[in-house]
């Protein structure tokens, strides 16, 4: 056989599954306290553990940007508050996310925005936990996209609540969070009632 037939194949890109962007309401997202790495490698992906028992490396959210602030002098970054029917997401974009930073610079609140980003959990020295999102991209969208997102996120949240606990993620969530599923259902119900038929 010709020499390159075996063993000589170049490594194919994307042999891994890309991390999907999870849909999660602000009311659940702000309760995140657990973050872990899958593997010990420097490059192993980092996950936030949702209280409903799913790991999450990336999120997609749509909400109203209510406030935008420029922070820092040397290392300038933007910080924005983005509201959904259940609460507020804190979204930042700095020089490590140049695409998102430039997009953020051009958006003036109030506006409906769609954000793709990574969850970030930070504990202050006095024990406060800050849960935020480092944006990878942010675009202005219309109300219909926001409404579609609320529907989709309601469905994803109910799916997580209705999935019987199985696997290490839900076991860890059960240990670390003591969630009251009734409260979460009410949160979803409340979010849905904000939409018009």
């Amino acid at each position: 056989m010709s020499t390159p037939a075996t063993g000589g194949f170049p490594k194919r890109e994307n042999m891994f599954e890309r991390e999907p962007a999870r849909r999660v309401f602000a009311g659940e997202f702000r309760e995140i306290r657990v973050q872990f790495r899958d593997g010990t490698d420097e490059k192993s992906p980092s996950y936030a553990l949702l209280p409903t028992g799913q790991r999450c490396n990336r999120v997609f959210l749509v909400g109203s940007m209510t406030e935008k602030k420029r922070q820092g002098e040397q290392n300038m970054y933007y910080q924005a508050r983005i509201a959904d029917p259940t609460g507020t997401f804190f979204v930042s974009a700095g020089s490590y996310q140049p695409e998102a930073m430039q997009q953020m610079a051009r958006i003036e609140p109030p506006a409906f925005v769609a954000v793709v980003g990574k969850p970030s959990i930070y504990e202050t020295p006095d024990g406060m936990v800050m849960v935020s999102i480092r944006a990878e991209s942010i675009t202005i969208v219309d109300r219909e996209v926001r409404d579609c997102w609320v529907l989709e996120t309601a469905k994803a949240t109910l799916d997580r609540l209705d999935t019987p606990a199985s696997g290490p993620d839900s076991a860890l969530a059960a240990e670390k969070y003591h969630i009251d599923t009734v409260t979460y259902r009410k949160m979803v119900y409340h979010a849905l009632t904000q939409l018009k038929f």
Partner: protein, 409 residues
């Protein structure tokens, strides 16, 4: 017949069953039968093996004796088998420990084989028929192959008649060796410097990727042409097949094939638009059409002062559970973004940001939007034929409100 070879063969079989082989004892038994009693070596081998097997309590099932004689398509891994077939491909030996490697075929199918240098075999010639007695089948990356070792007897056969290769429909390909009747439908950019060509082949049942590696005397396939490819290697990566046709016998055919593409629909949010989307320039060399870099450099034809403009979007569509790579061509991009090719060209030519301006405007219009894309699934891409925005569905709202159990659940 050399007695030491028979000893070796029997010993290997015993060891394969997890017992220690007592070679001097085996030899002694064989010599007694052959030299003292004038038994034919074949019969002596059989008698001694059965004898020892009985002593060890070895079940004489399918791996007994020289192995059942089998059709090539019915062998399975770790079996000892005897097959008769024609050597249809004979390759260069990749290492000194291997005397021959190639493909042997019978009327039922074909299989890769390797002859270890330690095996004592006659000279193996392409297009001759052989009997491989007591070869071992093993498996690598899902593909079976025959190992001809020092315990295998290889005899050249006198066979008249033509061997008609079995043509496998693309949808039924499995790792190993196959012959296919296909049309070349797409040429892709090569992803490796040793690669001559890669692309997509298809027949009435489906499509499959192929690769040709650079090698002296090997030629490219022509897009749109129909070929019968005899005895190509079929590799498997992540459940997807790929044909390595370097050693195959390729015959150009007349006619046409109506290729079946798998269609797929995917709904989700467009969460990323990759660089290389928007307004692009393509190489004008006939049959090339590759995307040029900003400096008008074609990966094959180098600098191209002339080019054709085109529109495309490469992105990720994400439904929260899975992310799909989507590729949209000009018509789809125009209807989705509302920006035509002509408008985009004009915008690029009259704007300080040039082609970037087109990218930025398209991103503003479609990133973060919910889309339903329908198209052909090719390799890891969804090649989008039609795409529309997803609208708010009141029925879904009603359904979900019911699911929450209402206010006082």
């Amino acid at each position: 017949m050399d007695i030491s070879q028979i000893v070796e063969r029997i010993s290997l079989k015993i060891e394969a069953k997890g017992h220690a082989a007592d070679k001097p004892k085996i030899e002694q038994k064989l010599r007694r039968l052959i030299e003292e009693f004038g038994v034919q070596p074949e019969d002596a081998e059989r008698t001694v093996w059965y004898d020892i097997a009985r002593d060890y309590g070895i079940q004489l099932g399918r791996a007994a004796g020289p192995g059942d004689q089998k059709q090539i398509n019915s062998v399975s891994t770790e079996e000892w088998v005897t097959i008769e077939g024609k050597v249809v491909v004979l390759g260069n030996s990749p290492s000194p420990s291997i005397a021959y490697s190639g493909i042997i075929a019978d009327a039922s199918g074909a299989i890769r084989f390797v002859v270890w240098s330690k095996a004592s075999v006659p000279v193996i010639k392409k297009d001759s028929w052989y009997r491989f007695e007591s070869a071992v089948v093993d498996e690598f990356k899902g593909a079976l192959s025959l190992k001809v070792h020092s315990g295998t007897t290889v005899t050249e056969l006198e066979v008249d008649g033509v061997l008609i290769p079995v043509i496998t429909p693309v949808a039924e390909l499995a790792a190993g060796v196959a012959s296919v009747h296909v049309k070349m439908i797409q040429e892709w950019d090569v992803s490796h410097e040793r690669m001559l060509q890669s692309g997509l082949l298809g027949d009435e049942t489906g499509t499959v990727k192929f690769v040709i590696w650079k090698e002296e005397g090997i030629e490219r396939l022509t897009p749109g042409s129909v070929y019968t490819i005899y005895y190509t290697l079929v590799d498997e990566f992540n459940g997807r097949h790929s044909l390595n046709i370097n050693t195959a016998n390729i015959v150009a055919e007349d006619g046409d094939i109506a290729v079946a593409f798998g269609t797929a629909t995917f709904k989700g949010a467009l969460v990323h638009i990759a660089p290389g989307s928007g307004l692009i320039k393509r190489c004008t060399v006939e049959g090339c059409n590759r995307v040029l870099s900003r400096q008008n450099y074609c990966p094959v034809h180098e600098m191209q002062p002339k080019f054709n403009y085109d529109l495309r979007v490469k992105g990720w569509l994400d439904d929260g559970e899975r992310t799909e790579d989507v590729l949209m061509q000009r018509e789809v991009v125009e209807s989705l973004t509302g920006m035509t090719l002509d408008e985009s060209k004009e915008l690029a030519e009259n704007n300080p940001l040039g082609m970037d301006e087109v990218f930025l405007r398209m991103r503003e219009r479609i990133l973060g939007r919910y889309l339903r894309c329908e198209g052909r699934e090719i390799d890891r891409w969804l090649l989008v034929n039609s795409c529309e925005r997803i609208h708010f569905e009141p029925t879904l709202l009603a359904e979900l409100l019911n699911r929450t159990g209402g206010e006082v659940s």
